[in-house]
Amino acid sequence: MSNTTAVPTPGAFQFPEIYNFPPLFTRQPNESTWQEQRRQWCDLILAYYRHNRLYSLTLAEAITEPPFTNRQIHRSLRVDVLRELVDDLVKQGNASWTGAKNAKDSCLVLWRKPEVWASMIYQWANERGLFNTVLTVFELANGDDTVGQEFHNLDSVTLRRALDVLQSQGKAQLFVGTSDEDMGVKLFA
């Protein structure tokens, strides 16, 4: 049975073998080695965040913690290198800069793309016969009815992105409340 709750996957995260390689934490001067290094890091970031059900990172804080710090070998990734990696993830649709424009100091890590979350939510609503009902975003994320769904306890910013996708697909309409959690959404066929 797959992990259907939004809690971290049981068991410790399995780091790849290259994680203990000190040079992994230095931006490689050789271009093709750097390409490979980026690939390794991007895969690692998405896998780590997915495993631990984490949705966002603030660069300055993140580099002091795993996966960007490996205490066993006393190495940390530099913030400017992490910034380049996030840019890569943004390009492939797996991250999104948040915070001040062009500041590039915090981001969402979209280990599951908003489109996929969107279709999970839509499918659930369809199965429960909830089209044309107004639901609060809070209910959607935290309500009893969604316990056991992958998007239960989903981070609110990521959830908002998913709902925006549904709205742009003509499958939902969002109603603004006084806060994000007050927001309502109506899904339709």
């Binding site: 073998e17 290259i18 203990n20 390689f21 000190p22 040079p23 992994l24 934490f25 230095t26 490689q28 001067p29 050789n30 093709s32 080695t33 390409q35 490979e36 390794q40 006393h74 190495r75």
Partner: protein, 212 residues
């Protein structure tokens, strides 16, 4: 007369030859002593008799697969020990066991390929090289220097060989460019250059030991 006896022997023990690597090695040495090379042609009579044509072909394909998959990380250089471990891990349970000798034979069959598959040695380390590249003697010396520590600084090289700065820089640049060495800038004054293939062998040995 000897050849006939050998053929009978091989026919009778075909199963053992496939499943027992030590025995297989002995039989092959016997063949070579008599002047029969079982692998000289895939269609050769002896190769079919020994039933090993497919075995080495399959092994060769698995070796190519592993080398190509890791090339962008290690620059096309892998420790023979690590390759053996990866092959064993990868081969299905119940398939014939492999030993180092089998890898050597499979690789010698791959020589005609453009990939340039061959075994190179640096001190006590035996490596499989899977890219067509001639390592110059300076690089080979540095590789041998780093064989146990997996890494070196430019200062280590200067102390060991007395080369001037330009010569050392040129050597290190070549090694970086070929992708066999990665740089660690933890100590900015004395960056360390790590040979991925050396590290990888050690690390995978440790990982497997811990897993057991």
């Amino acid at each position: 007369m000897m050849k006939d006896n050998l053929e009978d022997f091989v026919r009778e023990h075909q199963r053992d030859i496939r499943n027992n690597p030590a025995f297989r090695v002995q039989v092959q040495r016997m063949c070579q002593l008599i002047g029969v090379d079982p692998l000289s042609s895939r269609k050769s009579y002896m190769s079919e008799l020994l039933g090993v044509g497919d075995f080495y072909c399959e092994l060769g394909i698995q070796i190519i697969d592993i080398c190509v998959a890791t090339r962008s990380i290690n620059g096309g250089l892998m420790d023979l020990d690590e390759l053996l471990r990866r092959l064993i891990r990868r081969r299905l349970k119940g398939s014939e066991p492999v030993v180092e000798d089998d890898i050597r034979r499979a690789i010698s069959q791959l020589k005609p390929l453009k990939g340039g598959y061959k075994i190179v040695c640096f001190g006590k380390r035996k490596m499989v090289q899977s890219v067509a590249r001639e390592m110059n003697s300076d690089q080979a010396k540095v590789m041998t220097l780093a064989q146990y520590t997996c890494k070196f600084t430019m200062e280590d090289v200067r102390v060991a060989f007395g080369w001037d700065e330009d010569r050392i820089h040129s050597c290190v640049d070549d090694m970086l460019r070929s992708g066999i060495v990665w740089m660690d800038e933890y100590n900015e004054a004395y960056p360390e250059y790590w040979v991925m293939a050396f590290f990888s062998q050690l690390n995978s040995a440790l990982t497997m030991a811990n897993a057991e």
